[in-house]
């Protein structure tokens, strides 16, 4: 079981004319997102995705699977940049539930890139993944809906056969001539739904109302404060977890059946409600560097 890794800086890809200027255009997308010129970012990404497709088609004609797969990864990098732009645009318009979905899109792309790249931090992918994971911590979502289902029929996205068909030799999640093999479910029966903390897909959230008029006191206040304090997209940051002691009176009429603010996962009445001071988790955000350069 040898896993094929790719180098998106592979010079073979530079033989393809559409590959020229790709890196400076990636850089331009990052800079334009930093300046919040989102529409320009989206139209540039669209043009670059067309270039990726041209590279892929040319590679397929040349029977060059390596370059075809690199074009897939370049496209995935564009999806990552687009997701970050959409995340910030949603935050700017205080639409934090949508921002959460774009955050997940970006993380999915970062995971795919991390899986296939021989040098995992190529184009700062690990930095970007950590950047998005840091934002995740400030959203109010802790439990997620998830279904259990019996899949009666599925087909391989590459050969259209059942993945159990001996003639299908594709492994889901692997790349084949610029396409990722996935199993497409065509018939399934719902069995059950559950609330879980570690879902396969974090997009299925329990909806929390996002009141834009009272964002400072609502459940999205942490992500709101974080994005406002960072000011500029692509300013990478780290989170330092500390403890802060607050007087019991600070919590006023904190509901006794609600989770204790100390973060113990116990009910307040069974934990700190009788204490004079309550120690709670406190996050310090430390800006590190502005991501600007994509080196080739």
């Amino acid at each position: 079981m040898l896993f094929h890794k790719y180098d998106i800086l592979d010079i073979d890809a530079s033989k393809y004319s559409d590959y020229a200027d790709f890196v400076s255009q990636l850089n331009s997308c990052i800079q334009k997102t930093s300046k919040r010129n989102y529409d320009e970012v989206y139209s540039e990404i669209k043009i670059m995705q067309k270039k990726c497709d041209l590279i892929k088609q040319a590679a397929i004609r040349n029977n060059d699977e390596n370059t075809a797969n690199i074009s897939f990864l370049l496209n995935e990098y564009l999806v990552l940049l687009q997701s970050i732009a959409r995340f910030w645009q949603s935050c700017d318009s205080l639409d934090y539930p949508s921002a959460w979905s774009f955050l997940q899109d970006g993380l999915d792309s970062a995971r795919v890139l991390g899986k296939f790249l021989s040098e995992p931090n190529t184009h700062h992918i690990l930095d970007l993944k950590a950047y998005l994971q840091n934002f995740e911590k400030f959203f109010p979502y802790a439990y997620f809906c998830s279904i259990e289902a019996v899949v009666k029929k599925k087909e391989c996205s590459i050969c259209k056969r059942s993945p159990f068909d001996p003639a299908c030799n594709h492994i889901a999640g692997n790349l084949y001539y610029g396409e990722m093999a996935v199993n497409v479910v065509t018939d399934m029966e719902f069995v059950a739904a559950a609330l879980v903390r570690n879902p396969d897909d974090k997009r299925c959230i329990i909806e929390i109302k996002c009141d834009k008029q009272n964002i400072q006191s609502g459940p999205f206040k942490l992500i709101h404060q974080t994005t406002k304090s960072l000011v500029v997209p692509y300013l990478l940051f780290e989170i330092i977890l500390t403890k802060r002691r607050m007087s019991r009176s600070f919590y006023g009429n904190w509901p006794s059946d609600s989770p204790c603010p100390c973060g113990s996962d116990k009910k307040f009445k069974e934990c700190c409600s009788d204490k004079e001071e309550i120690e709670n988790p406190h996050y310090l955000i430390k800006a590190s560097k502005q991501l600007a350069l994509v080196q080739m």
């Binding site: 896993f3 991390g114 259990e148 019996v150 492994i171 879980v196």
Partner: protein, 173 residues
């Protein structure tokens, strides 16, 4: 490290699988002739579906390629394979039935080694650093006595890597 392997008696045997009337002659031939047989769960909650765990098709393909010295079969009629998708980031290895001679066995260590490699190949290239739980069930049939024991592992991947299975110990009373 706490490595928890639960060994218990099981009533799953090849004879019992052969008695399932829905299985075609081709499926029954696979049940009889496979060194390593991937078996579905016979019932999922209240439904009557026989279901394999979600990644079974990939597991089967990779196993056929990596353990080509063994005859590997899927205990289901062709075209009727169903899978169960579950909701968490947890790794459900397909249930496996093997028949061994406990004194001479070399298959079980090879099987566990394959499963460890499979998980690394399939899951640890892309997922986050948190280690997901692994669920594994191997039915081991003693070729001579026809007694079947089930080996069940539910725990972290690191625990599975550290697992040492001695076939002789499984059948010790």
């Amino acid at each position: 490290m706490n490595v928890s392997l639960k060994i218990s008696n099981s009533d799953l045997t090849r004879e019992k699988l052969l008695a399932i009337s829905e299985f075609t002659e081709k499926t029954k031939a696979k049940i009889q002739n496979s060194d390593i047989l991937l078996v579905p769960k016979m019932q999922v909650r209240d439904s009557s579906h026989r279901c394999f765990s979600a990644p079974t098709s990939d597991f089967y393909k990779l196993m056929k390629s990596d353990m080509s010295q063994y005859n590997i079969g899927l205990c289901e009629n062709e075209g009727e394979e169903k899978t169960l998708t579950l909701h968490c980031i947890e790794i459900w290895i397909p249930d496996i039935l093997v028949s061994i001679d406990p004194v001479k066995d070399v298959m079980l260590p090879a099987l566990v080694s394959f499963i460890v490699n499979y998980i690394s190949y399939k899951y640890f290239q892309s997922k986050d650093t948190d280690e997901p739980d692994v669920h594994l069930k191997i039915y081991v049939e003693n070729k001579k006595t026809k007694v079947t024991k089930s080996l069940e592992y539910n725990g972290k991947y690191s625990g599975l890597k550290a697992l040492k299975i001695n076939a002789k110990d499984i059948f010790k009373e």
